[in-house]
């Protein structure tokens, strides 16, 4: 466990703790310790250090908006931009609550990809037409509305194979 070097590394115990936390962040230190056969104080110490070092960025609750009666549609956007403006556009997009993820990606050309939520199709279109299309340097937008999700996971940390 070396947390202070420029390329900080995690050992197997850290990775195992992270994996358990990714599955359920509400587990107690004792529960994690029991699963890994280590003392709860060790788990506490490791988690504290990983939080302070920025390996753990935040804990969040995943909410089932459908169950709450909040209908939301999800869309994936691909925005082709003038390369000189790509970064400005991406940064401006981060300021909208509707935009959940923004990234620059490269296939045949540099594009911005974004995941967006909206109440309905009319609101989605209005957002794209009024807030994204007018941004300087936006050349084209392709939007695909998500109809069914087959998998949605975050990258799971695994113990290193040596």
């Amino acid at each position: 466990m070396k947390y202070k070097s420029q390329h900080a590394t995690l050992d197997d115990l850290d990775r195992q703790i992270l994996r358990l936390l990714q599955g359920d962040a509400k587990q107690t230190y004792s529960e994690i310790g029991n699963k890994l056969n280590v003392a709860h104080s060790t788990v506490y110490d490791r988690i504290q250090k990983m939080e302070q070092s920025g390996f753990i960025t935040k804990y969040e609750a995943m909410v089932d908006t459908e169950k709450m009666g909040i209908p939301l549609i999800m869309a994936q956007m691909i925005i082709t931009t003038d390369p000189k403006e790509t970064e400005n556009i991406a940064k401006k997009m981060t300021m909208y609550d509707q935009v959940l993820e923004v990234a620059t990606s490269f296939s045949e050309e540099l594009v911005i990809t974004a995941k967006v939520v909206s109440k309905d199709q009319a609101e989605l279109h209005s957002f794209v037409a009024r807030s994204i299309a007018p941004l300087l340097g936006v050349l084209r937008i392709r939007t695909a509305i998500v109809t069914k999700k087959y998998k949605e996971e975050r990258f799971g940390i695994k113990p290193r194979k040596e």
């Binding site: 956007m77 082709t80 794209v128 994204i132 299309a133 084209r140 937008i141 392709r142 939007t143």
Partner: protein, 111 residues
Amino acid sequence: MIGSSSRALRNVMREEAFYFFTSIGNYTGHSAASLDEFLLKIKDIDMKSLEFHLFREDFEKWIAQTLGDSRLSDDIRSLRIQKVAGNALRDRLYLVISRRLKELKGPVVAR
């Protein structure tokens, strides 16, 4: 009268421009910041875009609310009500807008 003509003929800021889409969220990359530019775009824009916006009432709303030309907006609304589509839509849109532009730009004739 002069005020409404100049409003209809002005160049609007990019936030107020008309952005041509072919379907929900799919922007063609074409926009118009004035009625003159709108007319030019009508000639070449993807037919899907014309039909998409006509059906959604986007043309008539932009022309009425942003350019303040309720008469032209009414003419376009009548195309929607008549369910004009395809090449006929492009031709008739071009006709009503170019005719209105001539009126707006032409000299005021005393009756």
